[in-house]
Symmetry: C2
Subunit: 234 residues, 2 copies
DNA sequence: CAGTGGTCTAGACCACGTG
DNA sequence: ACGTGGTCTAGACCACTGG
């Protein structure tokens, strides 16, 4: 037993679950009983239970009690960064093009804009030893006075801007990862055959403040230069 | 303002962060100050802060204070299930083979076993309208009396066993997702050309009790029948 | 109705960081 | 020495579940 009571309790209950003394679906003793058993206040005991709920060991039904969860969830988590997640030492990020375009149907949907609004399109190529391993396109709705747009034009590097925490509000990012045969333009840059395929990571970035899209990005990544590594949450 | 004080405080602080009134790196007022400001006990105020820490809005340095986090993490989460995550209505899961093999170098590493130990190998094909879209192999260390092994042999369906919560201990699952040119056997089953590629989802299942591998699985999934969908955590 | 979990308080003591 | 967050208590009132 250590010093911190609520952690000792957490570990004790975790142990009982992992050793099978408590089985999925089992009802734990009431909070009052347990606070007596462990000789702590109910507040402290509840802090332990809160942690166990957080880590998906138990769940609570108000008015009834605390129950042991079914084991082995299928919820995974991973880290993804358009640059850092690539295998090998990145030597250069080349700016391929910057321009203002009229959005097509897909872009209008992704950015939630009308056909009359303009979109900024930025294309980059990520190199490692003369070999292009990622070809990315960033689409930003063009709004005058939007500081992000100005920054991206100035820096021509969306990645750096996002990482430096220049944005003042919380963002939600959504990824879709597929295997695709990339379009001609991408094939030429990545130097892959017409029958070869690669990763397509599509990313939507959304403001948590108002739910409006900030950006829609597509990253084509050559196979062998990216592996998605994920672990179950807790 | 609602009834629950600590949630009101959470939303108030979230709002201030999202609206830019509190910026990344900012130090929040001390807990005593804030509990005065909000006219709640320090305990209640701390419950609010705990939630904000959990959702990555703030972080705490003991002896110094609570700080606003940098926005936009690159931590994502997703759901993966070898069957449920496939696109389309699964019509059949065919058992291709069951057998006991001597492990190769790779399998010895994945299952943390010696060359003298035997391994159970189970192969399945998942079909949708006569088309095989997933070819999977399950490797289990063979130990007599291991209830999992017996179950898998009887059920010939690892998926169902895991989902029904028959296991009494917590598991950790690790995924690696790659694009590969599958081996001949898989190509024939999936009916894909020698130059085509597909997803390879490698899964390690580990007991949280002792850290020992329970199973190593490989799922070859035909492209177009799987998309990984992930969102940032909170 | 009695028992459960959900919320909240006011106060205590500690370890740590800064001066 | 002082202020910070970290831990803990004993007790209160509430809403909900179930017999």
């Amino acid at each position: 037993m250590k010093k911190i009571l609520y952690l000792d309790i957490v570990n004790d209950i975790k142990g009982k679950i992992e050793k099978g003394m408590l089985r999925p679906g089992d009802l734990l003793p009431s909070e009052n009983e347990m606070s007596d058993q462990y000789d702590v206040s109910r507040t402290t005991l509840r802090k332990s239970l809160a942690l166990l709920v957080n880590e998906k060991y138990i769940y609570t039904i108000p008015g009834k009690g605390n129950y042991v969860c079914e084991p082995s969830s299928n919820q995974y988590q991973f880290y993804f960064d358009e640059i850092d997640s690539l295998k090998g030492e990145i030597e250069e990020v080349k700016l391929v093009s910057v321009g203002v375009i009229t959005p097509g149907r897909k872009l209008m949907r992704e950015l939630k804009i009308g056909s009359f609004e303009k979109v900024i399109k930025i294309q980059k190529a990520v190199q490692i030893k003369d070999e292009v391993i990622q070809y990315s396109t960033i689409y930003l709705p063009y709004q005058k006075g939007n500081p992000i747009v100005e920054d991206v034009i100035n820096f021509a590097n969306f990645h750096g801007i996002m990482e430096k925490g220049k944005l003042q509000f919380q963002l939600k990012k959504i990824l879709n990862i597929d295997i695709v045969h990339p379009p001609l333009e991408v094939r030429e840059s990545l130097k892959i055959d017409h029958d070869e395929s690669c990763f397509l990571v599509s990313q939507n970035i959304i403001s948590m403040e108002d739910g409006m899209p900030i950006s829609y990005n597509e990253f084509y990544i050559k196979r062998n230069y990216f592996t998605l590594f994920a672990e179950t949450t807790f």
